[in-house]
């Protein structure tokens, strides 16, 4: 029995969930209708993922009811939730890359004859299943021979065929390019027409407006409101999410006041790496903040990995203060006075099991070499100093960094590099996934540092943020630097335009120098 269009399919009443020290969900209600795409929004830590985990049984709720199709349910785990009718697709495709597409679709329910799997029947069933989504693939090939977008659709096909009434999409577009997002949204629309209820979680507000019918906003574990998308504009939505008039605080164009006539501190000439980023020129002045804008997968992270020696360049030269510089490894970069706080803090930034003190001292120690240890006293001084200056919230300096919150981990990383007193600091998405307070502090820090003469290069998906602190903004698209905006020419609109402009056409603002 499928409920008709517009009827409530899934409803949660007064959900609560506490973790030690925080109330992650505080009496939250949530309704999902059949045949709608319902966006779930909120800053990090607002309770989105806790809500999803409660609905899918990944964690047990402390209180409240969940009703699906008029029946009260209590999913034990994700598998049980799936059997009940709630399927989930995550950002990191949760299928097996080493199995074929057909095996992935049919795992656990392969057609069998005399106890043996009939591969022929399995493959043809898989083909039929994908045909409903307009996909015609060789299902006998391994899943990892297809793009992430295709993998995502295969994951959706599997989830829908298993559960069939509710589909939760958790950041499904984070690693897709424009065309792939369009393809995915076509699939989502098709499912909506079939009467599925779809929960859509995304950081990309454009996409939320494009695909959703209704929006539920959470903040600090509480329900802020439910709105029809038709009756909502961006500013209202951001205000709901942040609970304040953020727009007023931001400047509307970039900063000026850098003297470009002097010899730049750093000059990258024709540096590039095949398959990662086309050769680019970039000169960076003392005290300058360069913002890098571009969609995920555009080549922005590849740009900074190249600049830090983390990925070898196969063309171009680098010079510092007029002298040639060899950047073959991160060690060279660190020795030259570079610092790099990567996008993925957990896997590439923090040393989770080690304490705050050692994490802060690490880069300095790596630079002085193993023969000359940074004394314990000096390490303690550094840690104390930065815990105070950056307001790192930790019970003590020996606490493993993995146990701190995202914002504090980011501050520890910042402290690690500041301890080396760098000339040039690269920050890749420094404000992603951290709470509003820490966010503001990090932005203030960036401004302070460049005033002190440090050169910075900051990647961010938050355009307002880039506009606020950048002297120049480099726009990256299709693995190439396509535009450079300067000073007054930097506005959110001009950046968006540069990102969106078709290949070959000149962007508004200043073309790449």
């Amino acid at each position: 029995m499928t409920p008709g269009e517009g009827q409530t399919l899934l409803s949660a009443r007064a959900l609560t969930k506490s973790f030690p020290g925080t109330k992650a969900l505080d009496g939250v209600d949530f309704d999902l209708r059949a045949g709608e795409v319902h966006a779930l929004l909120g800053e990090n830590g607002a309770g989105k993922s806790t809500l999803i985990k409660c609905l899918t049984g990944a964690i047990r709720r402390d209180g409240g009811d969940i009703v699906l199709d008029g029946r009260s349910i209590d999913p034990r785990d994700t598998l049980h939730a799936q059997q009940l009718g709630i399927g989930t697709v995550y950002q990191e495709v949760n299928l097996l890359p080493n199995l074929t597409v057909a095996e992935n679709l049919m795992l656990g329910r392969q057609p069998c004859r005399f106890g043996l799997v009939s591969r022929k029947a399995m493959n043809s069933q898989a083909r039929e299943m994908l045909a409903q989504y307009g996909l015609s693939l060789d299902v006998t090939r391994n899943l990892d021979s297809y793009s992430v977008a295709i993998q995502q659709i295969v994951a959706i096909a599997r989830a829908v065929s298993l559960s069939g009434s509710v589909l939760i999409l958790d950041e499904p577009t984070a690693s897709l390019d424009r065309d792939e997002v369009r393809m995915l949204f076509d699939v989502v629309r098709g499912l909506r027409e079939k009467g599925l209820g779809i929960v859509f979680i995304s950081h990309f507000l454009d996409q939320v407006f494009e695909i959703s019918d209704r929006i539920t906003v959470l903040r600090n574990g509480k329900l802020v409101g439910v709105r029809d998308v038709a009756a909502l504009d961006r500013l209202q939505l951001v205000n709901l999410m942040l609970g304040r008039e953020l727009a007023e605080e931001t400047r509307h164009h970039g900063r000026t006041g850098i003297d470009y006539s002097t010899e730049p501190r750093l000059r990258f000439s024709g540096t590039g790496r095949r398959g990662a980023i086309s050769p680019f020129d970039l000169a960076i002045q003392r005290g300058e903040v360069i913002g890098v804008a571009g969609l995920l997968g555009s080549g922005r992270t590849e740009t900074v990995e190249l600049m830090f020696g983390a990925a070898p360049m196969d063309s171009g030269t680098v010079s510092m203060d007029g002298k040639a510089l060899r950047l073959a490894s991160p060690r060279d970069a660190v020795a030259a006075g570079f610092g790099f706080s990567p996008e993925d803090r957990k896997t590439s930034g923090i040393i989770g099991d080690m304490g705050v003190r050692e994490n802060i001292a690490l880069a300095l120690q790596a630079r002085t070499g193993w023969m000359r240890p940074v004394s314990l006293r000096r390490q303690r001084e550094l840690a104390q100093d930065y815990i105070r200056r950056l307001d790192i919230r930790t019970s003590d300096m020996e606490k493993p960094v993995g146990q701190l919150s995202g914002g504090n981990q980011q501050k520890v990383l910042l402290a690690r590099w500041l301890a080396t007193n760098p000339q040039f600091l690269i920050l890749d998405e420094p404000t992603r996934g951290i709470d509003v307070g820490a966010h503001a502090e990090i932005i203030r820090m960036i401004e302070e540092l460049c005033t002190g003469g440090m050169s910075l290069l900051v990647i961010s998906s938050e355009l307002d943020e880039l506009v606020a602190y950048s002297h120049r903004v480099v726009v990256v698209r299709d693995r190439a630097h396509v535009a450079e905006l300067m000073g007054e020419a930097i506005t959110s609109e001009s950046i968006v335009q540069a990102i969106a402009t078709q290949h070959g056409a000149t962007a508004t603002g200043q073309a790449a120098s």
């Binding site: 949760n94 080493n98 398959g275 996008e343």
Partner: protein, 325 residues
Amino acid sequence: MNARLLPFFATVLIFILAYAVCYMQFPAMLSTRVAGNLLTDNAFLGIVAVGMTFVILSGGIDLSVGSVIAFSGVFIAVVLRDTGLHPLVVFVLLLAITTLFGAAMGLIIHVLQMPPFIVTLAGMFLARGMAYVLSVDSVPIAHPFYEWAQNAYWLMPGKGRLTLIGAMMLVVVLAGVVLAHRTRFGANVFALGGGVQTARLMGVPIARTTILIYALSGFLAGLSGIVFSFYTSAGYSLATVGVELDAIAAVVIGGTLLSGGSGFVAGTLVGVLIMGLIQTYITFDGTLSSWWTKIVIGALLLGFIMLQKLLVGLTGRRMRAPGAH
């Protein structure tokens, strides 16, 4: 063509080339007689390597199998010596013990979430220790059934003998192929090797599959022990030291990824035969010493590990290209 088939084809190619080289030097090697001996001499290794293939496909490792084979031999010999039980009854008892033993290791790996390497290390100590406890000396086996089994063979054209134990290995390999590639259990084994967390989310019964995999490995190690006792007519607690390494080597040379998730049971058979061929060649040559076997196997291991590294690197790059990071 699927790149994952490449190691398998490489294995087959190496086997054919190696056989061709052997044939050119010693034309006598291309006979059903040598082929029959190859199967007979490597029967116990082939059987245990099939079990190891499943373990490695699932991303695990089983270090206990060499000790379990030794234990099996001693157990059979001691029970036959001290009781009037028929060997077939003893075999059933033994297989029950080794299967349960493997299942217990699987259970511990799953429940304690510890690396299979260290858990099966304990199993290795335990099985070898129990073999010692049963008997320190080599215990001969003399039973009419054994005489019958040792002389049971099918005369192939060319006077080669396909012995009972050689045939048993072929049957086990065949059963292994079907189990790995044509059953839900087999798909679950591959799924485990692809990623335990993901497999769990996709509804693969992790506990059951893990336990079954190690139980299967234990069962086949027991069966291999029976075959080995046919082969040697004795049970000796110091026998088959390091066979787990040979089995792992055969699996890898057979084209299975040591980190799990990709491979072929049939390849393992070829891997075993390549290793057997090296030994046969050395025997034919007469001047080469036996230690060259180990060195050549080491070199083959290195070659295959490099090849796999290369292939994984290639697919890995393709994965990353459209991806986010």
